[in-house]
């Protein structure tokens, strides 16, 4: 069983309140940082830890922090990205709901490291009840002197507030999030300038995911080098994986970033196997934006090596035979699922969530949705499959923000790995009339014989 750094205390009595959290060693990282360390020393520990952004991109956090511009006299800000909206992902909600002070503590320690005196947690509007839990935790922290003026007599001041969103996936993109936090439409900005130079209200800003900021707590407590001992290679530490779909035990799991994929999927400690005891068909390992891969390629790489739950191993083989760790929004498909229906569903999502700034994304996602809709509902043509391939190619890389890529990859990977299933829909339109068409008679690949 791997070490739990973030979820260790979840479920303990009173852990959601300040007293219970403190009794389990809470706020030690704030004491250590403010009393014994310089801000630069905290940044160094985070660099040594090898921590990578847990929101999906996996960019090294220490490096991101080191880009923060520090012009004299200009306030800097830390903004927590709690807009968690990537389909399949519900880990941040779990963390904020069941151990809210961990995020508050991570925000204080990280704000100190960055020299920010005013920080925000931007939380998606649908999580209103979670925002109330965070507001309560913040009020407790103010009352106990962990927030406000001259924290622990160190001379460091910090104000922390929750900011509620209103339903827009795109606001998880950091510049769209900042626009939204300024009271505007969530349209991503053209970069550069990056938020580290011009962010919230044109001031230098760091935007980090909830889990990233929570991980700063054990890193400061135990030291970056200790943290880096967990995991494998450049995938250090632990990662929260939110697991759903056709598995026996959906939920949020903290894994060591070297756990074999098969163990994660099949062992009772984690997902507990495929629901209904059926064969595994496909896996989306890191949220809907990452490429979908066939079950056998999830368990073993194209080279035949066991796949590990790490950034490198999950992307081994590139887009041809790999996927990505992404946000850790994991969902599995058994053989009763229809990949065409799922791809249509994904594309409908991106069409709905496109902000509308860039034509390739605004129009392309809609066109793909229409074509996928007709294939799924028995009205497709064989050439539609190549048309889809062509459309996704023209969206990828041609938009201001990565939503375009995120809309293209699930379509590309579905065609790459499951082309015969698309062809089946075109060839046998009457067999796909029932929305649950593969539930009774799962799709079987036609065996092709070659001389």
């Amino acid at each position: 069983m791997g070490r739990k750094l973030l979820l260790e205390h979840i479920g303990k009595p009173g852990i959601r309140g300040l007293e219970g959290y403190r009794a389990n060693g809470g706020y030690r990282s704030v004491e250590k940082a403010l009393k014994t360390m310089t801000p630069e020393a905290v940044v160094d520990e985070v660099k040594k830890s090898g921590l990578r952004g847990r929101g999906g991109a996996g960019f090294p956090t220490g490096l991101k922090w080191s880009f923060l511009a520090k012009p004299p006299g200009v306030p800097r800000h830390l903004v927590c990205n709690a807009d968690e909206s990537e389909p399949g992902t519900f880990k941040d909600r779990y963390l904020m709901e069941f151990i809210p002070h961990l995020l508050v503590e991570g925000m204080i320690t990280s704000s100190f490291a960055l020299g920010a005196n005013l920080s925000y947690i931007y939380i998606r509007g649908e999580y209103f009840y979670v925002a109330r839990i965070l507001e309560q935790a913040i009020a407790e922290a103010y009352a106990a002197g962990w927030l406000g003026k001259n924290i622990l007599g160190s001379g460091y001041d910090l104000d922390l507030h929750v900011h509620i969103g209103a339903g827009a996936y795109i606001c998880g993109e950091e510049t769209a999030l900042l626009e939204s936090l300024e009271g505007k439409r969530g349209n991503p900005r053209i970069k550069p300038p990056f938020p580290a130079v011009k962010g919230l209200w044109d001031r230098p800003t760091v935007v980090n995911n909830v889990e990233t900021l929570a991980a700063v707590v054990p890193i400061v407590n135990e030291g970056g080098e200790e943290y880096a001992k967990l995991g494998i290679g450049k995938s250090t530490g632990t990662k929260l994986i939110s697991a759903g779909g056709h598995i026996n035990k959906p939920g949020v799991y903290e894994i060591d970033l070297s756990l074999p994929a098969e163990e994660f999927l099949m062992s009772d400690e984690y997902c507990g196997g495929i629901s209904g005891g059926r064969p595994l068909k496909a896996v989306v390992p890191g949220g809907s934006s990452v490429p979908i891969i066939p079950g056998e390629l999830f368990l073993k790489t194209a080279k035949g090596e066991p796949r590990l739950m790490s950034y490198e191993s999950l992307s081994d083989g590139g887009f041809a035979s790999g996927s990505m760790l992404g946000s850790g929004g994991f969902y599995a498909y058994n053989d009763t699922a229809c990949i065409v229906r799922s791809t249509w569903n994904h594309t409908r999502f991106y069409h709905h969530e496109s902000c509308g700034q860039c034509s390739p994304c605004r129009e392309g996602t809609g066109w793909m949705e229409k074509v996928l809709h007709r294939i799924e509902h028995g009205g497709g043509h064989m050439e539609d499959i190549d048309l889809l391939w062509d459309m996704q190619r023209k969206i990828e890389g041609n938009t201001i923000c990565p939503l375009g890529d995120a809309a293209a990859w699930p379509v590309a990977s579905a065609i790459r790995h499951f082309r015969d299933e698309f062809e089946f829909h075109v060839k046998y339109p009457t067999k796909v009339k029932d929305p649950n068409h593969f539930a009774k008679e799962p799709f079987r690949k036609e065996v092709k014989m070659y001389a």
């Binding site: 399949g88 509620i164 939204s180 009271g183 759903g244 056709h246």
Partner: protein, 185 residues
């Protein structure tokens, strides 16, 4: 947003809107969270308050009142309200049932749940029952993928739903007949 461009409609005869004293006090608390001169940042949270005070939707009058509270142009409020999916620019039922339909929920039966609710309430997605009690909406991922299928009503998540549980929930709502808002504590 891309697929769901929402038109701001002026409705002749829309009832006048004014914030309650308690709501105005909350607006002031929220505005104080942002630096001086940056009060426009409070727009989303204040729109939520206005929506709760206006029976779950934002009329032009309600949006104009928000503009006044923040000292910004009306259009700055309309363009934002029409972008975000949680703001309703048309009246909704006492209970606004938002069923998640995105892939992880779909794998666990969201489509069947939506079909069941449509039959049960005798309306299609996007419609309101004749008695004004329920509006049914299909929404994108609500971050409850492991507890699917599910629906949100106001601030509450109703998870691990089955047709039976959904029916019981509807009966309970009918009996209580009390509006659920996102801002409910």
């Amino acid at each position: 947003m891309g697929a769901t461009v929402k038109a701001v409609t002026v409705r002749e005869g829309t009832p006048p809107f004014a914030f309650s004293e308690a709501a105005l006090a909350e607006c002031r608390t929220i505005i104080a969270r942002y630096p001086e001169g940056k009060s426009k940042s409070a727009l989303l949270p204040i729109l939520h308050i206005a929506q709760s005070e206006n029976n779950g939707w934002l009329s032009v009058n309600a949006m104009d009142a928000v503009a006044q509270v923040l000292g910004i142009q009306h259009i700055e409020v309309y363009e934002v309200a029409s972008f975000y999916s949680m703001f309703n620019l048309h009246p909704v039922g006492t209970y606004h049932l938002e069923v998640c339909r995105t892939s992880p929920c779909m794998l666990r039966g969201a489509d069947d749940l939506i079909t069941h609710l449509e039959k049960r309430l005798n309306i299609h997605v996007g419609e309101t029952t004749k008695d004004g009690m329920f509006t049914l909406k299909a929404v994108e991922c609500l971050g409850a993928c492991g507890y699917a299928p599910m629906l949100q009503c106001g601030a509450k998540f109703h998870e691990h739903l089955t047709p039976e549980k959904a029916d019981a929930l509807i009966e309970q709502m009918r009996a209580e007949n009390k509006r659920q808002n996102y801002t409910d504590r």
